[in-house]
């Protein structure tokens, strides 16, 4: 048995032991996301336009993460709409930033790994860079949208006649509570992966100016910073959607009663 299969089995068993049916669904969502991600690469390799692949794969990954992560439709539908809007805004920002920064493809530090490869593959790496950056932010957006939406559903349940302005205020308060830990998740998630790169920079005594203009470093920083921006935008947008869907949600509460 290969190590990956064994670790996957351990994770599956633990998820089912701790989470029961919900644990199994979570494991399944991870598998599905992996499948869609790999499929996205294959599609781009077959010259399907990267922007189209980004939008469809992005929507699917958001749907899988949100709808398989939680059962309550009041929370999930709001979170899904909100994260779709954030993905749209972020896509525009990222397209702009990637064209400005030109960090597509590989940097000089990759040369050794690329030896013997043909890099003229006829697919625009700039467009692929947009895809990569968007996909890396989606998990964080989905998670933040779900946290804010779940909190606001509870608020609406307790105070059905709350005003839209108050929903916004509560949304921001919930956002304030999650922002510290969410930033931590992203910071460590990304910086853990940069360890070797940073040791390279420090070991070869790159100057501050060199690092700030280094292709790979700037590419990674764009991922971290756009993830932060995505999470920040998610908070008010989720609250706003919740305000729009207030009537539907309050009605569904009274039906349940």
């Amino acid at each position: 048995m290969s190590t990956i299969t064994a670790l996957g089995l351990v994770l599956m068993i633990l998820m089912i032991l701790v989470g029961g049916k919900q644990g199994w669904t979570s494991f399944l969502s991870l598998l599905l996301n992996f499948g869609f991600l790999y499929f996205a690469i294959v599609l781009i390799a077959f010259h399907v336009p990267p922007l189209f692949v980004t939008l469809t794969t992005g929507t699917i990954i958001l749907a899988v993460t949100i709808f398989m992560g939680e059962d309550d439709l009041k929370t999930t539908v709001t979170a899904f709409y909100a994260s779709l809007i954030v993905m749209g805004i972020l896509l525009l920002l990222i397209i702009g930033v990637e064209h400005w920064a030109m960090v597509q493809g590989f940097g000089p530090e990759d040369s050794e790994d690329l030896e013997g490869m043909s890099i003229l593959i006829g697919i625009s790496y700039l467009k692929v860079a947009v895809t990569t950056t968007i996909l890396s932010t989606l998990g964080a957006i989905a998670e933040a949208a779900m946290a804010v939406a779940a909190g606001l559903t509870e608020v609406l349940n307790a105070h059905p006649d709350i005003s839209t302005a108050q929903i916004m205020k509560s949304g921001m308060a919930i956002g304030g509570q999650i922002i510290g830990t969410t930033f931590n998740t992203l910071f460590f998630g990304f910086f853990g992966g940069f360890l070797t790169l940073f040791i390279w920079f420090a070991g070869l005594h790159y100057s501050f100016g060199t690092i700030m203009n280094n292709k790979i470093f700037v590419a990674e920083m764009i991922m971290v910073l756009t993830s932060f921006i995505g999470v920040l935008l998610t908070v008010p947008i989720t609250a706003w959607i919740m305000g729009l869907r207030k009537k539907t949600i309050v009605d569904s509460f009274s039906e349940n009663k």
Binding site: S2, T3, A6, V18, G139, G189, T196, G203, L233
Partner: protein, 371 residues
Amino acid sequence: MQKLKGSAGFARQFLILLVIGLGALLFTFHNEAFYQRPLAKVEQVHNEKAVKQTDEFKNVDWQTKQHLRIKMLNGKYRGQVLTVTNTYSYSGAMDQRYRVGNEIFLTRVHEKNGELHAAIAGYKRDTVIVFLVWLVILLLLLMMRRQGSLALLSVIVNTILFMLAIELDLKMQSSHVLLIFGVLALIFTVISLVMILGFTRRMLATLGATVFGTIAAMLISLLVFNLTQERGIYYESMQYVTQVPRPLFLAETLLGSLGAVMDESSDIVATIFELKQLDPAATKRQLFLAGRSVGQSIMGPLVNVLFLIFMADTFTSSLLYLKNGNSWGYTFSMNMCLGTVQSLISGIGIVLAIPIASALAALLLGKKAKA
């Protein structure tokens, strides 16, 4: 959003942040004097006709040669104009198209027969980072004030610690990678949690859950590594490795999962403490089950957050492997296997933290069930 109270103060803060941001951006547009490396600005571009390129895998690409008139911005040749050549391809993996107004770094600047010659070393990108950092700070401070500033402070402190640890690792000549970064992970956790929660019992419970959850996940994974003899793990596919790869990989995994495990533990512990306040008579069992149910609903999204972060990075090189005639399986092994292992180990940590956090908080607070 905060217009009701202190709208004047709000407007002032907004203006201050705006001015600082614009100032920082303007600075990066004109900071050529601060760079030791020669910088130049593109003033004129002349493109030759695109040439079709076909490789042995039938990939078709187009290459274009550019002649750029550039003006030196710093150094002793400041103000002088010279011509350099650049070749860019449609795919642009290692090259890029330059346009009028772009600023570029040069190398090998030398004078020959009264004329300046140089080669292009790279594109100036610092403005982009400054812009994005400013955007993050602006949104963070305007939207979340106190919590926003704390989150920002925690990121800054963690970055500084991270750099110190890397320096230390290089000083020790990478002999104790796991020890250094393990201790660093512990310090990270304590500092982040104290900043978010203060020095409280809640913080101690969260800290305990994070530490035990992470250690348990690492131990289980090492056991699995041992039993399967690390079959299918290709450390040689790790990027930018300058030291022994295996301990570095474990350190990366440890750090990578830390934030998510902390995130989840603090959610669970917070819920249990809140429940205890609402219902002081709650038993240990009730508290434990409440914590577990919170954990169940957030573990899926959290594992996916890390999975997407770890895997997105491998996208570009996987694509290159596929277009170089490699099989899907080989492409996976050489690019994605380490990311997958990292995601799985982090997932194990995230799942294990649920019962540990619930049990710790419940033991700390719960009353014994009266029989």
